[in-house]
């Protein structure tokens, strides 16, 4: 239900429509407007914000797409003005290295810890094989009971 409300609100937030000369441009428009972050409203993309600045950026995005700019050109145009902040998928540099490699690093650390843990547990619960004498004793006992051993619950 909440999800539905959100969808409706999002649909209302963006009121202007753009005509595209090419279906591919329209696809790129939607992808880029979902990747660019609204500088004013912080946690919305420009496609779901109704802030004036988001509207301006959508207008600009449409203009640039129609004039034949590449995705990289458009993104660097935006970054030059609003900083790396406007990208929800920031480029890789010293500031964002932790962001990009952090999950991989955490996974590796976890796997390493898991491996260590499993290994130490294995040595504790190593199966104990009965010795030859014990086997002999067992067999004797089984034979002695004449096959009438009861199953104990």
């Amino acid at each position: 239900m909440i999800g539905l409300c959100m969808t409706v609100m999002t649909a209302q937030a963006v009121i202007e429509t753009y005509e595209f000369s090419d279906a591919d441009l329209e696809r790129r428009y939607h992808r880029l407007s979902d990747e660019l972050r609204c500088p004013k409203c912080q946690n919305q993309t420009i496609s779901d914000s109704n802030a004036p600045i988001a509207k301006d950026l959508r207008f600009l995005l449409h203009e640039q797409l129609e004039s034949g700019a590449s995705d990289d050109e458009i993104l660097s145009f935006m970054v030059a003005r609003y900083g790396e902040f406007v990208r929800y998928r920031p480029g890789l540099d010293s500031n964002t290295a932790l962001l990009w490699y952090g999950p991989l690093l955490l996974t590796l650390v976890t796997l390493f810890a898991l491996a260590l843990h499993l290994r130490s547990r294995k040595s504790v619960v190593a199966p104990v094989e009965p010795t030859e004498e014990e086997r002999e004793a067992l067999r004797a006992r089984l034979a002695g009971s004449g096959g009438e051993q009861k199953v104990r619950s």
Binding site: P39, K40, Q42, P52, I53, D56, L60, V79, A80, R81, Y82, G83, F85
Partner: protein
């Protein structure tokens, strides 16, 4: 050694707490301007009053504040009296009338006083866009060479002037402006 191991979760917890505590004291709305350290972008805009076309070369040459304002912006009205005081002290302030109606803007300056040495009429917000403006008011410090040194988002008052802006205007720093 095995005893020390018992403290590992505690150590991890303390580290994580420190990290999150640091996160609490960060201001998520502070956005570093991409323009700091770069020249003020080129433009060709009309002066609000005279209608004369001005470019970047016409306004740079001495340290100045570039104040982004509009009549639709409530906080601009709040900071306006303080801008008048700064201008009276001799601080050069260039107004950038951002996405506004020229007639309303002229009326506003007539009513409330005009702190601006010049006012650029950026009715389409195109210079604003090139400067990375995302709202009003915003105030930029531009040095004598036309390089942007600092950007403040929000109202300029005595405290903001003293702590953030005055250092770029050494000749006015000592005077200060009382609130």
């Amino acid at each position: 050694m095995p005893r020390l191991k018992l403290f590992l979760p505690l150590a991890a917890f303390v580290l994580l707490s420190l990290l999150l505590f640091r996160g609490l004291s960060l201001d998520p709305t502070s956005l570093p301007s991409a323009l700091v350290g770069k020249p003020l972008p080129d433009f060709e805009l009309e002066e609000l009053h005279s209608g004369e076309i001005l470019s970047r070369q016409d306004i740079i040459g001495e340290p100045m504040l570039v104040n982004i304002w509009a009549t639709w912006c409530y906080s601009c009205r709040v900071e306006h009296p303080y801008l008048l005081e700064l201008a009276a002290q001799g601080v050069r302030i260039i107004g950038l009338n951002y996405k506004d109606d020229g007639v309303k803007a002229i009326a506003w300056l007539k009513d409330l006083g005009d702190p601006y040495a010049l006012t650029l009429a950026d009715s389409e917000g195109m210079l604003g866009l090139d400067m990375g403006v995302y709202g009003a008011p915003e105030t930029y410090v531009v040095d004598a060479n036309g390089v942007v040194q600092f950007r403040h988002v929000g109202v300029v008052d005595a405290q903001v002037w003293q702590s953030l802006l005055a250092e770029w205007f050494p000749e006015f720093q000592s005077k200060g402006v009382a609130q």
